[in-house]
Symmetry: C2
Subunit: 358 residues, 2 copies
C-alpha cells in the first residue's frame, strides 16, 4: 500500500501560528502533503508562508487541489469553537466525488451530516471524525499512577505554544538513545500524525481524566518513557478544565513546561486578550501544587517556542528562562533538544531507583 497523499484545507487561516494542525502535518509528513488550500495565500509555497515545508504549493480552489491527485483531504485549521465553515461542505462533497477520504478534527462531526454521509457511502469513501470519542470511557480511578514507564506530560502557558511539537521532537531523540519512548496523542493533530489517540477536549466532561487514564495505560505498553501530549493551560479561561483533567488522569511523574517566548497574553495569537501570562516560576508553582494534589510530580524542564525570534534573541530567551527557573531550557525545534532529552533520561534513572527502593 502506497503512502497517503494529503490535500490540506486551511482556507483563510494558513499562517505560522493559526493553522496548527496543517503546520504539524506538514512538519512531520511533508512527503505526504501535495498541497494546501488557502485562497488568501494561493500562488505561494508552503516554505514562503511557514518558513519550512519546501515547494509544496498553496492552491486557491478545491479544483486545483484535486488536480494534484490527493488520496485524502485533511481539515487543517482548528477555528475557535471547532465549527466547520459552511462553504467547506460543498468542497468536501467535491473531494468525495473525486475519490478522497476526509480527515476531520473539528468538534462538528462530518458523520452527523446526512448529505456528506450519503455521498461518502455512494462513493465508498470514509469520513474520519478524529474527535469522536470512543464509547464507554471509564471514570478515572488513579490507575495511571501504577504504570511501569516514567510518564511525562507537557503543560503550557497557553494553547498553541508547541506542546505536541516539543514531544514529537523528544520522542525521536529518546528513541535514538535507546530509551523506548511512546508519544500519546490527546488531540486531533496528534491523532492525525500518529494514527491513534483520543481528543480529550471532545469527550463528555466527566470522562476527561478517564480518557487520559486509558491513553496512559495504552501508551505504557512496551515503553520505558511515555510522553503524554498536553492540552490548553491551567489558567486558560476557556480550556483549563481539559488541562486539569488530563493532568490528574494521566498522573505524570514529571512535566515539561512549554511557552512561546514572545507571547504576553493568554490567547493573543488570535486577538488581544485580557489575561496577562504570569512568570514561568508561577506556572511551575501552579502545575506542581495542583498536580501533586493527586500524584507527586514536578517540572523538570522548559520547552520554548522561539519561531518569531532571531537566533541571537532565541538563545537569549533560553538563557533567561534558565536563570528564572533554574531548569534545563531549549527550543527543541530550533536548537538541540539534548537538554530536555537528558532531563527526561535522568528523571527516568531517579524514578527507577525510587521504585527499586520501594
Amino acid at each position: 500500500m502506497s503512502d497517503p497523499r494529503y490535500l490540506i484545507l486551511a482556507d483563510g487561516d494558513f499562517s505560522p501560528m493559526t493553522s496548527k494542525t496543517a503546520n504539524s502535518i506538514i512538519r512531520y509528513h511533508p512527503e505526504r502533503t501535495v498541497a494546501v488550500l488557502d485562497r488568501q495565500q494561493a500562488g505561494r509555497t508552503v516554505q514562503d508562508v511557514l518558513g519550512f515545508g519546501g515547494a509544496i504549493p498553496v492552491v486557491g480552489s478545491m479544483r486545483e487541489g484535486l488536480a494534484l491527485g490527493p488520496s485524502d483531504v485533511l481539515i487543517g485549521i482548528a477555528p475557535k469553537g471547532g465549527q466547520l465553515p459552511s462553504e467547506w461542505r460543498a468542497w468536501l462533497g467535491e473531494a468525495l466525488d473525486a475519490g478522497c477520504d476526509i480527515w476531520n478534527g473539528l468538534h462538528n462531526f462530518l458523520t452527523d451530516d446526512s448529505t456528506l454521509v450519503a455521498k461518502a457511502k455512494a462513493k465508498g469513501r470514509r469520513l474520519l471524525d478524529l474527535r469522536r470519542p470512543p464509547a464507554d470511557l471509564p471514570i478515572a480511578s488513579g490507575l495511571a499512577k501504577e504504570v511501569d514507564p516514567l510518564v511525562v506530560l507537557t503543560v503550557g502557558t497557553d494553547c498553541n505554544v508547541g506542546k505536541m511539537t516539543a514531544q514529537l521532537q523528544l520522542t525521536k531523540k529518546l528513541n535514538d538513545r535507546g530509551i523506548r519512548t511512546r508519544f500519546v496523542p490527546t488531540g486531533q493533530t496528534g491523532i492525525m500524525i500518529e494514527g491513534w489517540g483520543i481528543a480529550v477536549d471532545a469527550v463528555v466532561a466527566d470522562f476527561i481524566a478517564g480518557a487520559a487514564e486509558w491513553l496512559t495505560l495504552e501508551g505504557s505498553k512496551n515503553a520505558d518513557v511515555v510522553l503524554v501530549e498536553g492540552q490548553g493551560s491551567i489558567n486558560h479561561p476557556g480550556y483549563s478544565g481539559v488541562t486539569l483533567g488530563l493532568l490528574h488522569g494521566s498522573c505524570p511523574d514529571a512535566m515539561i513546561l512549554c511557552h512561546q517566548s514572545t507571547r504576553e497574553y493568554i490567547g493573543d495569537y488570535r486577538a488581544a486578550a485580557w489575561l496577562r501570562i504570569p512568570p514561568l516560576t508561577e506556572y511551575v508553582r501552579l502545575y506542581e501544587s495542583i498536580g501533586a494534589a493527586v500524584h507527586p510530580t514536578r517540572v523538570i524542564g522548559i520547552s520554548l517556542n522561539t519561531y518569531d525570534l532571531s537566533d541571537v534573541e532565541a538563545r537569549r530567551a533560553c538563557d533567561q528562562a534558565q536563570r528564572e527557573t533554574g531548569l534545563p531550557v531549549t527550543d527543541p525545534v530550533r536548537f538541540d533538544p539534548a537538554p530536555l532529552v537528558s532531563a527526561i533520561a535522568e528523571e527516568r534513572e531517579r524514578y527507577l531507583r525510587r521504585r527499586k527502593a520501594l
Copy 2:
C-alpha cells in the same frame, strides 16, 4: 395546573449518602413525592431511611409505586459513570404505559433508546434527559467577570459533600433578608429542583467553562447575589476538570468551601479510596491560587455537612474548622445558616464599595 407527583427510583442504593438526587428532591419537594422505589428498603418510610421526609413510603416494585398515582417518575440515584441499570428500562416502560413522564439525570440518555422513545411517543409522554446539553455552547471568554451581582461559587473537598444543599439553604435565607439571590443549577439534581440549568459535567470538555459562563450570565438577571452550584473537587482524580472549568468559567468573586466532617478519603462514601483529604487550609490555598489565576477570588466561609454526628460533635466540628481556617463556619442544614448568610452579605457590601471606587 396541579403540582407534579413524583415516584423516585433509587433501587438498591437509597441511603443518606448514596442516593443524592433522590434525597435532595425529597428535602426540597417532600409534598410532591408519593413514594421511593427501593427493593432493599421496601416497607420502611423515607424518615426511617434518611432521618427526614416523614411518612413517604418506600415501595418494592414499580406496580406498587404506580398504584399511588404518580405523574412523573424521577431517576433518583447517580451511579458512578452515570449508566442506567439495564433492568430499569422495563420499569420505565411500565411507567410510560401508566401515563408518567420520566425525568432522567444520567449520562445515558433515554431519548437515545428507540424502544422507550417509541413508547413515549405512542403514549404522548415526555422523556426528560436533564443532562442533555444545549447546542451551540460558547467557549468561555471571561464575560462572567463583568456581571453586576456578587458571584459566589461553592467548592468542595470531594463530590457529594453538600455543595448544592448549602446553597439552596443560603438562597432562601438571603432572599428573606431582602438580598435578591439566585441559585444557578449546574447538575442534574439542581436542574430537577429549580427547573432550569445545565449539567456542566455532561457537556463536551472544551465547553465546560463556556456553559458555566452562560449560566452565570443567565443567573445574573435581576439579582444582587448569584450562588453558582459547585461540582466535584479540585483534587478529585476523576472529576477535577469539571471543577476547574466551572471555577474559571463562572469567575466567582467569592467561594464557600464545603466539607463532610467525617470524610477522610476522596470518594470514600462509596468505597475505600487512595487519596487522603488534606486539611481545609490546603483546599483554601489551592482554590484561591488556581481561581485567582483567572479572576480574583477568595474563600469567605466553610459549610460543613455533619449529618452523621451528634449535635455536640457537630458543634465541635464547626468550632474546630473555624479555629483552623479563621473563617465563619456552620452546617447550614443542621444549625443556623446565619454565619454564612452574613459572610455573603458583608462580601457583597465590600464588592459594591470596590465597584463604586473604580
